[in-house]
Amino acid sequence: MPSVRLDERDLAFLGGDEGEGARLAMSILVRMADVVGARELLDITAAHIDSSLYQGPATLEFAERLADGGARVRVPATLNVSGVDEHGWREWDVDESWAEPARRQMEAYEAMGCEPTWTCAPYQTQARPGVGEQVAWGESSAIVFANSVLGARTERYPDLLDICCAVTGRAPAAGLHLTRNRAGQVLVDLSRIPRRLAAEPALYPVLGHWIGLRVEGRIPVLDGLPARPGEDDLKALGAAMASSGAVGLFHWVGLTPEAPDPDAAFQGREPATRLRPGPTELRAARDELGSGLSDAEGLDLVVLGSPHFSLSEFAALAGLVEGRRCHAGVRLVITTGRAVRALAREAGYLNAIESFGGELTVDTCILTTPMLPESIRRLMTNSAKYAWYTPGLLERAVAFGSLSDCVESAVAGRVTRDEGAWTAGP
């Protein structure tokens, strides 16, 4: 017998009253509640489903077992990226033998009633959960955004479990769902970062990468930066922390909802550890994000948009490429969601980007669909997440730079980076 306390609805799911798919979902949830030591399940109001990612026959089989068993989501559920750009995959090197099962997996999640948003950044266009709202989100970069920036409450849900929560409307009452587990643990004092570097957008992915390696699964509290980050900055920061570490929540004093002051962020406790990065450490962290591709070397692809490119990022990119041309030997691809692409087109940003030679891929990204031709060996990106996963997943060389570095490199046909902000001094 499970040690978790179940109510009548839970027992009905478990008994198969709601069908075989819902029974399977609840049985997995109850086992996991036991693993995490939850005494009970709680109600959730929404979910974001990362299980949509095709990783081979097993993930498809799991999805179809649920869908064919009549499972339907009980709460609004957005879908993360899939294994394929549903309508645009033929423009790239995607094999039919990958695209077909990946599409079937997309259909299985749509059949369960999930919304076909197909983005890792659902908060850019969809309804956002409010402060304190209990949700079940998958996708590491979205989880950290929901917890930290929105103040919603989700545990770090792995693939296969987020959908079980959505189908039952329940989640184990444990981890980041509970107030006591949301207290900051590590103070990251940013007062040594010079103003010039604080004004550089590439600071945020680099800082996130540096912090994630050091805090692993603990909760960092950031304070003291002589600048105020925007939402795209926080998106990049969190995604980087969630890649190099296992961070599901950070606080930023005076900025994020649970951190009006340091005392609130730490829930009255003392930080267990203090970190104080300066420009030298951060420059080293920036260089560490690259792998096998140095400055001035030739380039095949510039890739932007992990997490998915936002409307404001499209605006910034359009401004940088206006009236210019991408080098003939370089492709520029931007990965984004369908909804943001439509907004960017409507706003006129895509004219400048497409005239420059830029291409868009939606629903997915270069890491989740095998889309790159063999001839593309050398990548450059402003995303710490792309940079972190490229060597292992794509077996290709990668350089990391700011958005403006990426554009200049795309024009020059080789890696070029402005060192200005990264050198010591104010």
Binding site: Q55, A58, A246
Partner: protein
């Protein structure tokens, strides 16, 4: 005779059996692959070959299939579970997992695999001290109750 194996055996027997908590119970035996560095399976483990492919990880290039994988925890991507489920289906997954404290991602993949494929690698949570003791163990047996014996 391999002298290293002899000395390892004496070092391991000094530590005695390690009493873990079986998040997913099962028996397994094999060579221990140990690292003090967390690992993401997405971008870190090739489900086709069982090779560890995170180029920044100390175990990069090693094959995890059939081994007893001892890592403190998983990190990073939510998709670690999906990659591991696929590896279990293909028979390229480690024979067992030993972690420092409970790792819910590894446990979930094993729990779903038990439902889908009627097989699952045991997932055992150890204390910090017991996990650190694995550093000296080359070959181990995992008992159904969660006890780990050096062999």
């Amino acid at each position: 005779m391999d002298r290293r194996a002899v000395s390892d055996r004496s070092a391991a027997s000094d530590s005695g059996p390690l009493i873990g908590r079986a998040l997913v119970a099962g028996a397994a035996e094999g060579a221990v692959l140990y690292s003090s560095e967390p690992l993401s399976f997405w971008g870190g483990y090739d489900a086709e070959t069982g090779e560890i492919i995170d180029r920044r990880h100390p175990l990069a290039g090693q094959v995890g299939a059939g081994r007893i994988l001892a890592i403190p925890a998983t990190r990073g991507s939510s998709t670690t579970t999906a990659v591991l489920l696929e590896a279990i289906r293909r028979g390229t997954a480690p024979a067992a997992f030993l972690t420092r404290g409970p790792d819910t991602f590894l446990a979930l993949a094993a729990i779903v695999a038990a439902q889908l494929y009627d097989r699952a690698p045991p997932v055992i949570a150890l204390s910090r001290e017991e996990f650190d003791a694995l550093r000296r163990i080359r070959h181990a047996r995992v008992e159904p109750g969660g006890t780990v014996l050096a062999r």
